[in-house]
Amino acid sequence: MDIELQHIHKHFGPVHANNDISLSFRGGRIVGILGENGAGKSTLMKILSGFQPMDGGEIRINGARAAYTGPQAAIRHGIGMLQQDPLDVAAFTVLENFIYGQAGGLTLKRREGRARLEQICRRFGFSLEADTPIAQLSIGQRQQLEIVRLLSQGVKTLILDEPTTGISAEQKTILFNALRDLAARDGMCILLVSHKLEDVIALCDEVAVLRGGRLVGTRDMPATTGELVAMMFGQELPPQTRQPLNLEGAETVLALENLTLRGKRVIVENLSLRVRAGEIVGLAGLDGSGQEMLLRACVGLLKPVSGRVIVGGETLTGAPYRTFLARVVAFGAAGRLEEGLVAGLTLTEHIALVTETGALVDWSRARCHTQERLRQYNVRGRPESRVETLSGGNQQRLLMALMPACPLLMALEQPTRGLDVDSARWIWQQLLARRANGTAILFSSAELDELTAYSDRILVFYAGRIFEIPDASRASVDELGRLIGGHFDGAAGA
């Protein structure tokens, strides 16, 4: 089955999540859909599988225009999507879940269902017992069940969202063999959304890469990790223009000693790091490789399993965030309206939260402060406007306005995410001015040029492992790309 996407658009509020995307997929091929978080790949796949309506554009199946709403309708058109968290009913058994998605009357055809389930499982080597409750299955098995269910519903195009997250190596092998078999023997079209480049390299016949809501290109495989990363992150690396700072003799602002951090999917073990006053450390890596955990551990938002966090010479391991805040440590999260700004509060109310520290709030004084800071930080918005009405760039500048003026340390998650070039440059001017005053900055980024342009050092994270590039100005895209893809062996550096 051939699918053509034509000029697909999708907005979420001010975000243009899919911007004029045109792509075609042919039966018998496995296509990797690549892009960083927020690139728009999940949105595109949800549109294709009926989970979300599009704002504009057209889907053509085998040349004919197809308009459908809802996942069930998409399945009737032959398109099924396997979600990251399989959509099954935990209280029921494998067989019951298998039968419930089927077309047909009110009666459950258990015997037929069982035969069909076993037949499909045998073909692909899936290890599913019909009478096992879902609650006892591993993620990998639930995924197998979901695939089996979609196949028996006549799906001819299978979309998989991060299918190898949380499954065993053996299950991965079985899954990949099944997908190859479905493409080769049944002529199915397989679309794989993944962060894991090694999976894409192992499995895909071609890739389509999205960045910032746009399609940046397609290419046939094979390709190297470096080539794929270059497509995902953009090619150009401008020369580093900032003034080199002499860090000799600068005091240590942050020291991490043998830190072990445990997240849902990643464990960072035995990390030691010293950051001096005025130093900028960039954290590179695919999303969820451990860099967010490190940033949060530095400000007390994530309690380390073991090890020590020392800020300005004082051991603060396990202390609450407010203690870190009192030592003038600033944190900026990637999701501005989720963590940082309070939707429903006005700009003045935000400023008052950080300036009006007495028991009584003097609203006219707070308003003056607000106007002053809005001017100083170039925020386009009125003091009485609610914060959610600001554009992303203005929200980010407001966040800067809310941070202490001379922090000891700033830990920033993707400080320029979603910003246009000018806004991003402005943010960095502010950050560099602070670093000139001795503020140490740790930041994560999905932009390779941002990392190399502003960092003194870069730490590359891959599945919780860390590789250090001691001189960021000498890093090449190719090298960074390989490191981000997990090829630490044989890389130059420390």
Binding site: Y321, E338, E339, E349, L353, V361
Partner: protein
């Protein structure tokens, strides 16, 4: 966000009220009565003499206290369903003073008020600890503590505090005169001091929400606790303080009920009179805007007070008042929902226009 024009704002209040009246009128017609006669009877029932109007005032005051208290918890994003139990505990604590302390009148009343604040505040603090330390949602904690407070109330009435003439669950013996504030007159059984205290408390809370850092922190916590924390707000403390303030006000409301509801002041079962839950409806109705509270609570008190007369005058059940109230709340909530959808749609079209 655009501020809406004044006529539109008024319309959003008047239209649902009119619709609720219409719906109730249709229901009254359906049971074969004359809606106009019903409305008139309710009005007369509430205002025909000073005794009736005194009852209306004595329902209005505690409901206002509870409403204002719930404004505080709603501002902090908390559903303080436990407000009923907090009223009961305020009443229980104050009753202990009324029955066992031998003090001159102003002093004894002052002690009662302090104990009512303490009782309600403590009971609410329990909900707060369950919520902030042990992760028990405040609705579940509140419901459990409501039940517990009522069990305790029944135990005290039928046990240690039962009247000397013998075991009953009707209530404690009447309070001594020193425990009761002076009424304005024998027929208008309302205490000016009590009213002034209620109004002062309400005004103080509203001003505190607007003009103090505490109020700002509650608002930030209620809208987005995660962001508030990152901006340096002690969110747990904010939640605890909201519960305690609301509980303390509810406790005083409980005391007010004990003193002014029954023919003679005494602690009785059902002392809260459902005012706690009614207060939640009030706050939903005014969309957490404090100035609307005294108005809406007055209307509720009027309707509920007047409807007692329906039985005598028209042979209709007094629960018709409840129907009016219920349909009013339902329709207003419906309108709020519609407004929310409308606003969301406007925002999306605006955002699209900016592209």
């Amino acid at each position: 966000m655009k501020t809406r024009s004044l006529p539109l704002q008024i319309g959003l209040i008047v239209v649902p009220v009119a619709l609720a009246l219409l719906l109730t009128a249709l229901l009254i017609l359906a049971v074969g009565a004359d809606p106009l006669a019903v409305f008139q009877t309710v009005w007369e029932g509430a205002t025909r003499d000073s005794r009736s109007f005194g009852q209306v005032v004595n329902f209005w005051m505690p409901l206002t206290l509870v409403g204002v208290g719930l404004i505080v918890t709603f501002t902090a994003g908390l559903w303080n369903i436990g407000v009923e139990g907090q009223m009961v505990m305020g009443a229980v604590f104050a009753t202990w003073a009324a029955l066992s302390l031998d003090l001159p009148q102003p002093l004894l009343v002052a002690v009662e008020i302090l104990l009512a604040l303490l009782g309600g505040g403590l009971w609410a603090a329990l909900v707060g600890v369950l919520k902030t330390r042990l992760g028990v949602h405040e609705i579940f904690g509140g419901v459990a503590l409501n039940a517990l407070a009522n069990v305790l109330l029944i135990y005290l009435i039928s046990g240690p505090w039962q009247p000397p003439e013998g075991g009953s669950v009707r209530g404690t013996p009447p309070f001594p005169d020193a425990a009761i504030p002076t009424f304005l007159s024998d027929t208008f059984k309302v205490s000016l001091v009590a009213i002034l205290i209620v109004l002062a408390a309400a005004v103080a809370v509203v001003l505190a929400l607007r003009g103090t850092r505490w109020g700002l922190e509650l608002k930030a916590t209620g809208k987005n606790a995660r962001s508030a924390l990152l901006l340096g707000v002690p969110t747990r403390r904010a939640a605890m303080s909201a519960f305690i303030v609301c509980g303390a006000l509810a406790g005083v409301a409980g005391l007010y009920r004990v003193l002014f509801t029954f023919v003679s002041a005494s602690l009785r079962p059902g002392v809260s009179g459902g005012i706690g839950f009614l207060g939640v409806l009030v706050v939903l109705l005014v969309a957490v805007r404090p100035l609307g509270v005294p108005l809406v609570t007055f209307i509720f008190a009027l309707v509920l007070g007047g409807s007692a007369r329906l039985q005598i005058a028209l042979g209709l059940d007094a629960s018709l008042a409840g129907v009016l109230q219920g349909s009013l709340v339902l329709i207003v909530l419906l309108f709020n929902g519609l407004r929310g959808r409308l606003a969301a749609r406007e925002e999306i079209t605006e955002a699209a226009a900016h592209e």
